[in-house]
């Protein structure tokens, strides 16, 4: 007989809708919706043309969120391996050159009328597949047990890095570590992996990163020395050997190269410089709604997508920033409470994964906007303009709500202690 028969079967649709309605937890949905509204206000003053489209995506996102809640997560997890395989396949297809290109990177895949970013789906797939894989195991407490979860994450991660979409790829790393950690992996094992990983970074640097990514990272790590060096204004000691031949000996090609490098260096600093200026311009109380001086222009590049926080900070000032950070904190609190309330291991893992992903993405984005982290091209969940980001954010939120909505009938075992 098939194994299907011995498993408890779950209805595809809940018999009582009240489950679903109870599942729509205001502690989670409230802050998320408020953040979306804050984002819409910022978009309205920066790029009024995209507000309608963003609202459309919000509606779609909410529908996806509710849709995700309806079907019990265990039903969904049964289908996770085919889904994971599909995501891997579409990532391969994107790299194979079937995707659309934008901003040096191919991230979009078109299947019929539907265009999507496989990397956004990969975030969901990785959380789900880890939840599914880890839930009844105990071997992740050993080093050997870590191998499979790492492989499950590193394969899509490598594919995403190759797209190249470093920002999204790096989001998967904390998700993996935190989910393993929450599931009870040994802290020292994880630390060891981190140390090993850092040691192998130079290798990764040369093998995997595109030049522009290197540039972004370098621009962040070596602000002054690097720029002086690249603009040729540096102190003599920083100059690479072989350059002492004197100005007359320099060939025209070398001059051009130097100019090119200087320009790149300046471009890389440019983002952070402009975004911090815009944030600072807000002052204590902000310049007022639709009154920011850096909005509506290209003064801050990408100010309606990745750098949407600058618009908010400029118009609403430090007060607005505190409100926004408070909302982020409430959203994460809601997710943490959800993760705390559910009892079944897969549900816990789903909630922790959602918490980690949304939290990390928000923190990295905000940190990069205020100049505390390198520019990685990562949208701010619920605020940045963009359909894919909006959908995947609500999808992930839906997963967490789902975990709480469908409590298991019987579970004797106490997970992860």
């Amino acid at each position: 007989m098939s194994s299907q028969a011995v498993r408890p079967s779950f209805p595809a649709v809940p018999q009582r809708w009240s489950h679903v309605i109870r599942a729509l937890d205001p502690r989670v949905l409230g802050p998320a919706l408020l953040l979306t509204i804050v984002g819409l206000l910022a978009l309205w003053s920066d790029r009024p043309a995209v507000v309608f489209s963003q609202t459309k995506w919000l509606v779609v996102g909410l529908a996806v969120c509710v849709g995700t809640v309806i079907v019990p997560y265990r039903r969904l997890l049964q289908l996770i391996y085919p889904f994971y395989a599909f995501v891997l396949l579409s990532l391969v297809l994107v790299i194979a050159g079937l995707g659309r290109e934008s901003h040096h990177a191919t991230r979009w895949l078109q299947i019929g009328p539907i265009g999507f970013q496989p990397s956004e789906l990969a975030k969901v797939a990785v959380i789900a597949v880890l939840a599914k894989y880890i839930r009844f195991r105990r071997d992740h407490k050993t080093v050997r047990g870590l191998v499979v979860p790492f492989l499950l994450v590193l394969v899509p991660l490598a594919l995403i890095v190759k797209q190249p979409d470093l920002g999204t790829a790096l989001m998967l790393v904390p998700v993996l570590f935190v989910m393993l950690w929450a599931a009870g992996a040994q802290t020292r094992h994880l630390v060891a992996v981190v140390v090993l990983g850092l040691a192998s970074l130079p290798l990764l640097w040369t093998l995997a990163l595109e030049p522009y990514q290197k540039g972004r990272v370098r621009a962040f790590t070596a602000p002054l020395v690097e720029v002086l060096h690249e603009t040729g204004e540096g102190l003599g000691i920083l100059d690479p050997p072989g350059k002492e031949a004197g100005p007359g000996a320099e060939s025209r090609a070398a001059t051009l190269l130097k100019e090119e490098r200087a320009r790149n260096a300046r471009d890389r600093r440019f983002h952070v410089e402009r975004s911090t200026i815009a944030v600072a311009a807000g002052g204590m109380f902000g310049l007022g709604f639709r009154n920011g001086v850096m909005n509506g222009t290209d003064a801050v590049p990408e100010s309606w997508t990745d750098f949407v926080f600058t618009v908010h900070a400029e118009e609403w000032g430090f007060v607005g920033v505190v409100v926004l950070l408070g909302l982020e904190g409430l959203l994460l609190l809601g997710l943490a409470l959800t993760a705390n309330e559910v009892r079944e291991p897969a549900a816990k893992l789903l909630a922790v994964g959602a918490l980690t992903l949304l939290g990390t993405q928000a923190c990295v984005n905000l940190a990069m906007t205020v100049g505390l982290a390198p520019v990685t091209g990562l949208p701010l969940p619920f605020l940045s303009y963009g359909g894919s980001s909006m959908l995947s954010s609500w999808l992930i939120l839906g997963m967490a709500l789902n975990a709480r909505a469908h409590k298991p009938l019987v579970f004797a075992e106490r997970a992860f202690d």
């Binding site: 929450a182 720029v227 200026i277 982020e328 923190c363």
Partner: protein, 696 residues
């Protein structure tokens, strides 16, 4: 363990969010401290975007062939901020005296050159007197400025016991500090050990070089001008207790000569601001009009939010003040369009490495569009010259229209009153007989039906008339050719006011201005001179109708309107209307045709040719008109009397070539003594205009 780890995870996120909040607090609140000059640093500026605007260039006006009619002459104003000024840029008394001497020498040379250009002795004497007076005045003014400088400079700028401040630049980070003596503290930006370089003092010469860009005058003149501006501003502001915080704008535009992209360049407290002036071709002043610097009323009008409803930009006061405002004619009527929309931006200051400020443009500047007129430059020059060549030196006007579509090709006027006499109302005299002729024909009176003309006579209905000749029994054609007052006076009384009015309106004599852009006066006007003009039944009295029939006293019309009327006949009834902007040019096929004018135009055109070509024609003696193949009509209108001499307006309106008319021209000389000058005074001038127009 799960719960503990979950709590730690959440706490970690909270810590990160707090760090981000702290960073935002540092950026938004801590660093936006006091501004630079109150002990803050350049960093504090980063949090204060400073708005600025970029002034649009005023659109220029062009002749039909693209030569400029009204154009911008780039120039500069100098904004002086004593608060920020570098002490060493203020000249000493000796420097100032030397610089003034150089300027005076240049002005003397220039005056001498102008004097040499004069042709007559009388003109030379006049100019010399003017120049001497002006030079004496300037010398006195400058002596006063030298005194001012001696008095003000030590007191106001620096205290006597302290040496001048010098600017020092950090050799590591290029931060500038202002100090007396070598700085001994660490650099406040980069913290480097004291390692400062003395900056060379800003010089007025460098500033002048930037603004001057090669003009007629030597650079010394501009330097002296800037120094004078400094002293002047010091003196003006002296009475304000907080005088150092005032900005003072001095116009130095007369000396700059070439446009350079100079937008907010600072120069040790002196900021040259683009402030261009406007020149108009003197021959086209009656068309382009003039501009002025804005008054308080202009500022109020241009900053009025109600402008938005009309689709115009609502200006900021700081954008109005450096701009020019149209004063009259095209410049005034199209002012809103010509002035363009200023650009807006903000200066932001880079946070890192003190790289200085950067301009963020939030609205691109939209320069005013150029306007192209239909005026032909050579023709316009000729029209101006002819208008000014009245035999008695009185007022005159000359207008040329394109017959096909009504384009105004030239409009000249000369007078002592400064009015445009091509647009003012004058008694048209016999040229107005065209209206009577159309009224006669439209009333169903056959052209061949005659009226008996004695040289002086009285008709059965009591109308008196005087005619130049004794025409005897005369029909419409011969009456028009010979300009018979007898015929037209009689017919005017017969057809009545209604028919005359209808015909006048068909021909374009309307109470509405014909060229709204030029603000032309409404012209045709049957005056009600006294109660006896209107009879008991409310109709015009017969004697007045008779006078109206020959274009005397009760009707007034402008030269432009008379030319329009004849152009409509020349165009076989097409209702051409004068216009002055290329963009208003109608499609010839789309101009409506008046059926009445179209029906009678051939007959009138034949008669108009007769005026010039037949021996009995009133303009037969003017051979020039025949030479250009013109047709037209003479006109004389009695307008007054001085002592024993009657004063007449002398007119000739004509078009050429007479068989396929292309151009229509009119010349008017006002108030010529009738004994010496007849209608013939204007005829040859029209021939010249038509010949020039056809030279194309």
């Amino acid at each position: 363990m799960y719960e503990i780890r979950l709590r730690r995870l959440y706490i970690a996120f909270c810590v990160i969010l707090c760090v981000i909040g702290a960073r935002a607090f540092a950026l938004q609140v801590l660093e936006v401290g006091p501004p630079e000059d109150e002990g803050g640093s350049w960093k504090s500026r980063a949090g204060r975007p400073q708005p600025f605007s970029v002034h649009p260039r005023r659109g220029e006006i062009f002749y039909a062939d693209g030569t400029p009619m009204a154009w911008n002459v780039p120039g500069y104003g100098l904004e002086i901020e004593w608060d920020a000024i570098d002490d060493r840029i203020v000249p000493t008394v000796a420097e100032f005296r030397a610089s003034i001497a150089r300027r005076a020498r240049y002005e003397a040379e220039r005056d001498a050159a102008r004097l040499a250009e004069q042709r007559t002795d009388r003109a030379r004497t006049n100019l010399k007197t003017q120049q001497d007076a002006r030079r004496a005045e300037l010398a006195a003014w400058r002596a006063e400025r030298v005194d001012d400088l001696g008095r003000l400079w030590p007191v106001q700028i620096v205290r006597k016991d302290k040496p001048l401040a010098t600017r020092w630049e950090c050799t590591i980070c290029a931060t500038q500090v202002k100090r007396r003596g070598v700085p001994d503290a660490d650099c406040r930006e980069c913290g480097a050990l004291p390692s400062f370089e003395e900056l060379p003092p800003p010089s007025i010469r460098d500033l002048a070089m930037l603004v001057w860009a090669g003009g007629d005058a030597p650079i010394e003149v501009l330097i002296a001008r800037i120094q004078e501006a400094l002293v002047l501003s010091m003196r003006r502001l002296e009475r304000h207790p907080d005088w150092k915080s005032h900005a003072f704008l001095v116009d130095i535009s007369a000396i700059a000569s070439e446009t350079i992209e100079l937008r907010h360049e600072e120069f040790g407290g002196l900021t040259p601001m683009p402030r261009s002036s406007r020149r108009v071709d003197p021959d086209a002043r009656q068309i382009a009009g003039g501009t002025r610097f804005p008054s308080a009323d202009d500022v109020r009008r241009l900053t009025d939010p109600a402008r938005r409803d009309a689709g115009w930009h609502v200006f900021d006061e700081r954008d109005v003040l450096p701009s020019l405002v149209g004063n009259s004619l095209l410049e005034a009527v199209l002012d809103d369009e010509l002035r363009g929309v200023p650009g807006e931006g903000n200066y932001v200051y880079r946070r890192e490495r003190n790289f200085g400020r950067e301009a963020i443009i939030t609205r691109e500047v939209a320069d005013g569009p150029d306007l192209h007129t239909t005026i032909r430059p050579e023709l316009q020059r000729l029209a101006m010259r002819l208008a000014a060549s009245s035999p008695t030196g009185g007022a005159g006007a000359a207008v040329v229209l394109d017959v096909r579509d009504g384009a105004l090709l030239a409009m000249g006027s000369a007078s002592r009153d400064g009015m445009n006499h091509a647009r003012t109302r004058i008694a048209p005299g016999s040229v107005y007989k065209l209206v009577t002729a159309i009224a006669v024909l439209d009333s169903g009176i056959a052209p061949a039906e005659t009226v008996d003309c004695r040289k002086k006579g009285r008709f059965p209905n009591g109308v008196r008339y005087t005619c130049a000749h004794e025409h005897g029994d005369v029909g419409l054609h011969d009456a028009f050719v010979g300009s018979c007052n007898g015929y037209f006076a009689q017919r005017g009384a017969t057809v009545g006011a209604q028919a005359l009015t209808a015909a006048a309106i068909r021909l374009g004599f309307d109470t509405r201005p014909l060229v709204p852009a030029l603000g032309e006066f409404a012209a045709w006007e049957p005056k009600s001179r006294s109660k006896h003009v209107l009879g008991r039944d409310g109709k015009l009295w017969a004697p007045d109708l008779a006078l109206m029939g020959i274009g005397q006293s009760t009707v007034l019309a402008s030269a432009v309107q008379v030319a329009t009327a004849y152009a409509r006949i020349a165009a076989d009834g097409r209702l051409v209307t004068p216009f002055v902007l290329q963009r208003d040019r109608p499609l010839v096929a789309a101009i409506p045709i008046d059926p009445v004018l179209a029906r009678w135009a051939p007959l009138i055109r034949e008669a108009a040719r007769g005026v010039v070509a037949y021996p009995e024609g009133s303009a037969f003696k003017i051979r020039e008109l025949r030479d250009v193949g013109a047709a037209g009509k003479t006109g004389t209108a009695e307008v007054g009397r001085v002592r024993n001499e009657f004063l007449n307006n002398a007119l000739f309106v004509g078009y050429a070539p007479h068989d396929t008319p292309r151009y229509c021209a009119i010349v008017v000389y006002e108030r010529l003594p009738s004994g010496r000058y007849g209608a013939g005074a204007a005829g040859p001038q029209v021939a010249k205009l038509l010949a020039e127009a056809m030279r194309e």
